[in-house]
Symmetry: C2
Subunit: 398 residues, 2 copies
C-alpha cells in the first residue's frame, strides 16, 4: 500500500502507473518499450514503485526470446474513491488502481440542504461501501468528486452554483480530505462523466470528443488531446444557455430561448405537465395524479406507449439540441459525441432526432466519420470519472 | 547560418530557440533559469546551438552579482519565409529568426488559375523580396504557407477546397520545398492568421483564444494552450456554415441560413448590389457604375458617409455573427476573441454590434473578463503566422 500522499518520483514512474492503470499488467520489457528506457533503468524504476507500494511483481511473462521478463501490476491494495454528487442523489464507489468498481452505493439527497449534511452523508456512504468490501485495504490513495455546478480547481470548491445555496466557496476538497485522510480533487459533474467515458466507455480510443449530459439541465464535457478542456474561467462546455429560439420561453438566467429552457429534464417536466393539464395528452393526464409531478421519465414512458404529444416533445427537444450540436461539431470537429445523463434514457427516438439534425447541418468533412452514441456507462460514468480525475493527479509527479 | 534541415538536438536546445524567438536575446543565466539546467549544461547546449548556426553570442549581460553572463541571440543570418495565398492576392515576407519583417511584397493573383501558375508567382515573389534585402543571407531555414481552404497536414496539400479548382491534393509543400530549398509547412489561412496574432498581436499573452476571420467567407482559428487546435479531420473552426436563420438565403453548400450566406464579403457585396439596383440606397446606386461590382469596402464607405441601408447591413451582419460567437464563447470560454480579415475593416460599428450580442447572450462567467478586439496586425497576420508555423517546426526536435 502506497502511503497517503505518496507520488511517483519522476515522469517515467508516472508513465508506468498510468499505463498499468489503463492497459492492465505489463511485463518489464513492455514497460521499457513504452518509455524507451534501458532494461536496467526500467528495473530500477519498477523496484522503486514497488518500494513506494504502487506496484507488485506478479509472476513471469511469456518469453520474447531471451530470459522471461517479470510481470508488473498495480498494487492490489491500491484504492481510489469516486463520489458523484447530483442535485438529488449521491453515488459513491470504491475502485481499485485500474479503476474497476469494487463496491458502490447510491442514496437520495438534496443539495439544497447545504454542504455540511450532504458531505457528511457522502463520508458515511464511503465508510459503508468500504465496510462491505471483502478486502477494504488501507485508506484510499485519493478521492475524486463530481458536483453539479461550476468548480474552481484552485479552491477545490464550487463558485456561485445556481442550484446549490450555501455551497459557494465551501471548501469541499479540504473537508473531504481531512475526513477521508486522502488527497481530493473536485470537478463539475459533466467533466467527471466525460472522464469516465474516456476511461471506460465508448470513448477509450478517442482523443478529441464531446460528452453531452442531458439531466435537469444540459452541459457538455470537452476533451482535447485526451484531457478535459476547461477554458480560461473553468466554464467551458456550459452550453445550456445557448440561444436556440429567439422567441422561446424565458429561462432562469433571464434570457429567452435558451437550450435549457427548451429541452432537458426540467423543460420536459414543465411541457408534460402543461400537456396533461391542457387536455392534449390523455396518457400524461392519467399519469399526473399517480405521481403528483410529471418528469422526463414519464414523457419517455408515454412515448413508449405511443402518446403522440410525448413523442413530439422528445423529437422537438432532440432537434433543438441537435441544432446546437451541429454548430459545435462544425466548430470543434470532434472524433466522437457521447450523449449521457438521465434524460438520455429517452433513448433511440431522441438519438435518432439528434443524429438527423447534426448530420444534415454540420459540415460533411466534420461528420464524415463522426459517431454520435448513447453513453454505455449510464450511472457509473460519474464515479469512474471521479476516480480517473484523482488517479491522474496521484499518478503524476508533483 | 544553420544548414537547411538542421534541427535542435534535444528539447533544451528547442526550448532555448523558441525563447530567443519569442523574448529576444537572453543571458546564459536567464536561459538556465528558464529550463532549470546547471550553468555548465547551459554552456554546452548554447555552444552546440552556435556550432549548428542557430545562435550567436552577442556580448555580456549586466552582472547579477557574480561573473557577467554571455548574451545569446538567434543568429542574425537566420531567415524564415512566410507566404499567405488568398483567393485574389499573394503576400510574401522574409522574416528574421525572431519573425520580424525584413521585407514584404504583395501581388494580385487568382487561385482559380490552378496551383502551378500561382506557386510559380509565389516563388518569384520570394526571389524579389530576397533580392531587395540589404542582407539576404543564405537559403531560408523554413517556409510557412497559408492557403484559403482545408489542408491535410500529412500531405502538405489542400483537400477539396471549394473555391480552388485543380488544387485538391496538389503537393504544395513538396513543390515549394524543392523550389526554395527549405522545409515547408502548409496550413489554412485562418489558422495561420491566428498564429500571427498569437506571435505578434493582441494575443501574445493568451493561451486559449478564438481568431475570427471575416473575408469573402467566415472562418475561425482556435488556439488551445498556445497551439492551434485542428480537430480530428483538420476542419475545426469551419464556422461559416453554422445555421443562423432557418429561413435565410440558400448557401453555396446547399443548406439554408448559413452564417456565410448571411454575412461576410460575398454576402455584403450581394446585398449592396441588390440595395443599389432596388433603389433603396442612393449612395450605393451612384457608386455601382463607377466600380462595376460593389464590394464590402463600398458598404463600409457608404456607412461612413451615413448611408442608412449600409449601416443596417453592417449591424445586421454583426448581430448574426455575434449570435454564433455567443454560442462559441459559452462553449469554449476563451480568454480573447480577435476579429480580423478584410471585412473587419468595417471597424467599430461592426465590432460594437458583435460585442453587444456576445456580451448579452453568453454566460456572465465566460464573458466577465473577455476582450473582443479587432486585429492589430491587419495584412501582416498571415505572413508572420506562416513564419511562426514553420519556425515552431524547425525549432523542435524531430
Amino acid at each position: 500500500m502506497a502511503r497517503v500522499g505518496t507520488r511517483p518520483e519522476n515522469r517515467h514512474q508516472a508513465r508506468f502507473l498510468r499505463l498499468l492503470r489503463d492497459s492492465g499488467p505489463q511485463s518489464r520489457a513492455e514497460l521499457g518499450d513504452a518509455v524507451e528506457l534501458s532494461k536496467s533503468k526500467v528495473a530500477i524504476e519498477v523496484e522503486r514503485l514497488a518500494e513506494l507500494g504502487f506496484v507488485d511483481v506478479v509472476g513471469l511473462a511469456a518469453s520474447r526470446g531471451g530470459r522471461r521478463s517479470q510481470m508488473v501490476a498495480l498494487s492490489r491494495n491500491l484504492r481510489f474513491v469516486g463520489i458523484d454528487i447530483g442535485a438529488t442523489s449521491i453515488d459513491v464507489a470504491v475502485l481499485d488502481g485500474g479503476l474497476n468498481l469494487l463496491g458502490q452505493l447510491r442514496a437520495d439527497t438534496d443539495v439544497r440542504l447545504g454542504p455540511q449534511p450532504v458531505l457528511d452523508q457522502a463520508i458515511d456512504l464511503v465508510a459503508k461501501v468500504r465496510s462491505g468490501l471483502a478486502d477494504p485495504a488501507g485508506p484510499p490513495a485519493g478521492v475524486g468528486v463530481g458536483v453539479p455546478g461550476p468548480v474552481s480547481q484552485a479552491e477545490g470548491a464550487l463558485v456561485a452554483p445556481p442550484i446549490m445555496p450555501g455551497w459557494s466557496r465551501f471548501p469541499i476538497r479540504d473537508q473531504l480530505g481531512a475526513a477521508l485522510g486522502a488527497p481530493v480533487m473536485v470537478d463539475n459533474d459533466v467533466n467527471v462523466m466525460a472522464l469516465g467515458e474516456l476511461h471506460a466507455g465508448t470513448a477509450r480510443s478517442v482523443r478529441d470528443l464531446l460528452f453531452v449530459k442531458i439531466g435537469t439541465g444540459i452541459g457538455c464535457g470537452i476533451v482535447v488531446g485526451g484531457e478535459i478542456y476547461r477554458g480560461v474561467n473553468g466554464s467551458a462546455g456550459d452550453i445550456g444557455h445557448i440561444q436556440v429560439d429567439g422567441h422561446g420561453p424565458v429561462c432562469v438566467c433571464g434570457n429567452t430561448g435558451c437550450l435549457e429552457a427548451a429541452f432537458g429534464g426540467a423543460a420536459l417536466a414543465r411541457d408534460a405537465e402543461a400537456a396533461a393539464r391542457g387536455g392534449r395528452s390523455d396518457w400524461l393526464a392519467q399519469r399526473l395524479p399517480q405521481v403528483r409531478a410529471l418528469s422526463a421519465r414519464d414523457v419517455g414512458a408515454a412515448a413508449d406507449a405511443g402518446d403522440p404529444v410525448s413523442i413530439a416533445l422528445i423529437r422537438d427537444g432532440g432537434a433543438r439540441l441537435g441544432k446546437v450540436l451541429a454548430s459545435l461539431v462544425s466548430f470543434f470537429n470532434p472524433g466522437l459525441v457521447v450523449i449521457g445523463g438521465g434524460v438520455a434514457g429517452l433513448g433511440h427516438p431522441l438519438l435518432a432526432e439528434i443524429r438527423s439534425v447534426v448530420y444534415r447541418r454540420s459540415l460533411p468533412l466534420a461528420t464524415g466519420n463522426l459517431p454520435i452514441v448513447l453513453s454505455e456507462l449510464g450511472g457509473t460514468a460519474g464515479v469512474v470519472g471521479a476516480g480517473r480525475l484523482i488517479s491522474d493527479s496521484v499518478f503524476a509527479t508533483v
